[in-house]
Amino acid sequence: MSIVPKETIEVIAQSIGISNLSPDVSLALAPDVEYRLREITQEAIKCMRHSKRTVLTADDVDSALNLRNIEPIYGFASGDPLKFKRAIGHKDLFYLDDREVDFKEVIDTPLPKAPLDTAVVTHWLAIEGVQPAIPENPPIEAIVAPADGKKTDHGKDDSLPIDLKLPIKHVLSRELQMYFDKIGELILGRAETPLFKDALLSLAKDSGLHPLVPYFSYFIADEVSRNLNNLPILFALMRVVKSLLSNPHIHIEPYLHQMMPSIITCLVAKRVGHQISDNHWAIRDFAAKIVASICRRYGHVYHNLQSRLTKTLIHAFLDPSKALTQHYGAIQGLSALGPSVVRLLILPNLETYMQLLDPEMQLDKQKNELKRKEAWRVYGSLLLAAGSCLYDCLRLFPGLLSPPDILPWKTNKKLALTNLPNNKRKASSRLTAHQPPSKKLAVDPAGTNSQFPSTDGPATSSSSGSNPNHHHSHNSSNNNSSSTGNITNTNVNINNVTGGGAHGQRVAVSNVLRQAWKEDMDAAHLLSSLHGLFGEGIFSFIQPAEMHCFI
């Protein structure tokens, strides 16, 4: 009947020394016990409300007992709400997790730190009804474009309508100044420390940093131009840019124009860091990613953002007088902007560019090993760009390569003969196959060099005009080697372009390319032409399932 069972009464009675309590008595007591419990709880809740709390504590129960002139229960006082644990096997039985304490341990442990003293701090919860985005306020979902003049009204409580908008003296709070100095110090000195990581996190997450953005953008521009030779600092700066961009509370658009030049510098500068010892390729890649993310995010707001960027990059890419490192950066930047940019801007120029790159990559023509390495790098990035473009095409039109009715027709075809020894080709294809498509081809330049000591340009020199091909048929190409006439036939079959024999192949290829750009969805053509330029390296970009189809 009562929620207090009579057994409880009996147990309590025994605990205070009454062993022979008659069941009638306990039965009569049980309801009254429940009533008293409720009464005390009600008073305790009253005390809790007057302490402006919403969680009942042991102190409240003590106060309630005091109100009723009952001795409080000692030993449970604690500032925090008690932590209850559920008894195993019972649905609503809880107990206090009260561990035994060893006196010796208590004595041995050093005194805990004195708790911090109560303090009062002030901040603006709202200014004329608008909540400022400062760390003291809860984060707002999105920042509305900051209305001018709203933030500068600090400290005036008699807000008169402002008629004149005078140039406002921007006062940066001491805390923000310290923050800025600290971040700057970290960037320039201790970018490797874990503290820097925390700083980046803070830059990416905290609200209220908005007043610092102009300072940061200036700082970044300044330091980039000054520290072009110091790769770690450049890296740190780029990471700061990335953090700032990802901070949802910062309205960064007005400062983009200040930041972009620095990032592009990192991307296409002639010399970044020490050419030999530093891995400047990585920062170019990183900068390319940042640039691409900026274009994705703000491209729709500033329509000329991407066009200006691509213009800069294509300019760097197509200028033969520029260094190969700059070409590399430009290619990376363009390819990060997406496959369609690659298709529109890189692929049409691929052919001519390869002619330029070709001699640089060959041992006999370029004696400088460093230059040759760079050339291979550029080659790798081109391959990656073209490949990912191809991959994208295939993804959009998977049917292009797989239709089974075309398959027999294709396998029947005669294949182009390469004037390379077949084993070399195999080696190169193995190498590229080892590289995951997302990696650059020539990550290990030394290895590549050892692979191609006598290669006279494996990719460009490979006679093109071959069909959208597969390893199997290619590797067995010396078995079914055929005349050039066959090649032209196949070319006609596939591309409707008449190849001018072995010598006219280049012309044929450029024709092929032109055709491909016109009907830019025609991935089959694309593949064939790319294969012409890159050899089998391009196959690693075809999805495995489709490759199976071919084999």
Binding site: M1, S2, K46, H50, K52, K113, A114, D117, L125, D158
Partner: protein
């Protein structure tokens, strides 16, 4: 009739000498009657159960437009059925009855149910306040004519005598002609108070002088403004020069820039005035004489008030205030209450460790002091000697109470501080000397709230002993004792004209008391749980009250009616404050929000709706300002309409 037959039968049997038959008949009779009495008590319980169950399903199945009226009847019937069952000793049945039907009423009356649930024996009925109230008083329910007829018809048709009995015994119906009222305004439909509803109505019909004090600073200010208006009409130039003169007397050192500012100021003042004069066409607050002898402000104080009034920002639904938030850090769950002085320079907190602490924000604001230094060598502090610690502390510590401090209140010019505590005393502290001046003893139980009057000198207190008391600073005995609430008086607030004080109580009512007579002048019924905060508009006409569940109600003091209540917050509304012109209401709650409400629109509705109590408009939410896990304990509009808020950062989140 039956008895006569019986008698005749017995007479006949005796006459004929059928002795055995007579005995057999008697035996059989007695057995039957015993059975009947037994079965009656058994069936009694079942009758309540069945009867209520049927009534309930009937009410729920009634016509849509009358249903909500008929449903009102269920709750009192439910409570009385339960209590009757308990009174008759059917404990088990009472329990099952309660548990079966309690769900229906949980939404509206959860807190009452929780209390009544504990009743387990007839003696509890006698002991418990709430139960006694229920049994001794009749509930009044307003029904429209048709609903009433429906109910009567139903009761007659079904012959459920138990229900009829309960309804007859405990419910008074007030039948009104016409259509049933809409659902929204049934707030006062079922409520129970110690005095009968009629008495409450009677109380609320007393005359109330809600106007502002005559000859107050504001009034003088307005007069001065209207005079300057006249001079302005005379000639703008003259006014300007006059203005300039005034400025010079103000001790102005800035020159023309300030001159401009002043002009603008003036323009603002003028527009404000026009607005005011427009509204005053509708209703200018009447002026009343004060019933208490009030202290005079010293001239320099008056000067500063005038200055503030001149610089006041006009707030409205379009011009929202700036809010400055004082956050208490490292309170370790110990902060019970806080208060902010009128100019925001002093902040005081009352703690559960019996201490009161006052922070001077002007000093904290100085660079290189207090908060900074404390943060850095917080760990060092323990090693300092007590004396240096005293000097280092950024606040002044007031020790004297011997129990948790439940409220603190600054005098109008922050030279005194009141604190009330669970040790049954109220203490007066001087903020200049940082010392205790007086300890007022009079309450017999913890004092929940203490508030200085708007003019200072007097203060009012509210206590667990169910009384509110009026004190003056120089007497250690209370001047008046306001008794009448049926449970704890939880909060107290002064009317701006100092002639009334309002109290909110755990009995879910708000009362307004006349300070001169100590009588109850108004009784406001409508809250569904303990009233924890009160505020009265500066023009003295409206009062806002907030309760434990987050409901905010707005009352018209003169009529005793309310704008329909709104669930403003998810948790207790700890504090309410009107802006200085009374256009905005700010509320602060345990759900870590400060909300701003538009009062003007709802007031208009109240004014126009004077004749009928139709569906009044609700308070309109203008802005919700969330804090960073800081429950809002105190709100205060400065005289210039800057809103101060205070709260303790709750740890762990």
């Amino acid at each position: 009739m039956e008895e006569e037959v019986e008698k005749a039968v017995f007479a006949y049997l005796r006459k004929r000498g059928f002795r055995l038959t007579e005995i057999a008949l008697q035996e059989e009779q007695s057995r039957l009657s015993a059975d009947a009495s037994l079965s009656r008590s058994e069936s009694d319980a079942a009758k309540y159960y069945d009867g209520y169950g049927k009534l309930r399903s009937w009410a729920y199945n009634s016509l849509d437009s009358y249903r909500h009226e008929l449903l009102r009847v269920l709750y009192p019937v439910f409570i009385h059925c339960f209590m009757d069952l308990v009174a008759q000793g059917h404990m088990q049945e009472a329990r099952t009855f309660f548990q079966t039907f309690r769900e229906d009423h949980e939404m509206m009356h959860l807190r009452d149910l929780q209390k009544l649930e504990g009743i387990l024996s007839p003696s509890h009925l006698e002991e418990m306040e709430l139960a006694r109230l229920w049994r001794q008083n009749k509930v009044k329910i307003r029904l429209c004519q048709y609903s009433y007829e429906l109910l009567v018809q139903y009761l007659h048709k079904t012959q459920s005598l138990a229900m009829l009995g309960v309804i007859n015994e405990h419910i008074n119906f007030e039948v009104y002609p016409g259509q049933p009222a809409s659902i929204s305004d049934d707030s006062e439909a079922v409520s129970l108070i110690g005095t009968s509803q009629d008495l409450a109505r009677e109380i609320n019909q007393k005359e109330l002088h809600w106007g502002l004090l005559e000859d107050s600073v504001e009034e003088r200010m307005e007069k001065a403004l209207s005079e300057s208006d006249k001079t302005e009409v005379d000639g703008n130039k003259e006014a300007d020069t006059e203005d300039n003169n005034k400025k010079k007397t103000d001790g102005n050192k800035h020159g023309t820039a300030v001159n401009n500012k002043k002009k603008k100021d003036k323009v603002v003042g003028a527009t404000g005035k026009t607005i005011r004069s427009e509204t005053s066409m509708v209703s200018v607050p009447p002026r009343v004489k004060s019933e208490l002898t009030l202290p005079q402000f010293p001239p320099e104080v008056e000067q500063s008030i005038l200055e503030d009034l001149r610089n006041r920002v006009q707030l409205g639904s379009l011009a929202l205030p700036s809010v400055s938030f004082y956050t208490f850090l490292n309170t370790h769950n110990g902060l019970n209450c806080s208060t902010i002085s009128h100019d925001g320079s002093l902040v005081a907190g009352g703690f559960s460790d019996s201490s009161v602490k006052i922070w001077d924000m002007a000093k904290i604001g100085q660079p290189g002091r207090a908060s900074n230094s404390q943060g850095e060598n917080g760990s060092m502090q323990g090693m300092h000697s007590l004396a240096s610690d005293e000097a280092k502390r950024p606040y002044s510590l007031l020790q004297g109470h011997s129990g948790p401090v439940y409220s603190v209140s600054f005098s109008p010019f922050a030279d005194f501080l009141l604190s009330s505590s669970s040790d049954n005393t109220i203490r007066l502290w001087s903020t200049r000397l940082n010392a205790n001046l007086v300890s007022y003893k009079g309450h017999n139980f913890p004092v929940w709230d203490a508030q200085f009057s708007p003019m200072g000198h007097y203060f009012a207190t509210a206590s667990h002993d169910r009384t509110a008391r009026l004190w003056s600073m120089e007497r250690i005995q209370p001047l008046r004792v306001m008794a009448g609430h049926l449970s704890d008086v939880d909060c107290v607030q002064w009317h701006p004209n100092c002639n009334y004080i309002a109290t909110g109580s755990s009995d879910k009512t708000v009362r307004l008391w006349d300070v001169q007579t100590g009588n109850c002048a108004r009784l406001f019924i409508g809250h569904r749980s303990m009233v924890v905060s009160l505020a009265i508009s500066p023009d003295g006409r409206f009062m806002a009250s907030g309760d434990e569940d987050g409901t905010i109600m707005l009352w018209d003091l003169s009529t005793g009616r309310s704008v329909s209540p709104i669930i403003g917050h998810n948790s207790c509304v700890w504090t309410l404050a009107f802006s200085c012109e009374g256009t905005l209401l700010a509320s602060g709650s345990a759900d870590c929000m400060v909300k701003l409400w538009d009062v003007t629109s709802s007031m208009k509705a109240l004014k126009t709706d004077d004749s009928k109590s139709g569906p009044a408009s609700r308070l309109r939410l203008l802005k919700a300002l969330p804090t960073k896990s800081t429950p809002v304990y105190t709100l205060r509009f400065s005289r210039r309409n800057l809103l101060f808020a205070a709260g303790a950062l709750s740890a762990g989140s």
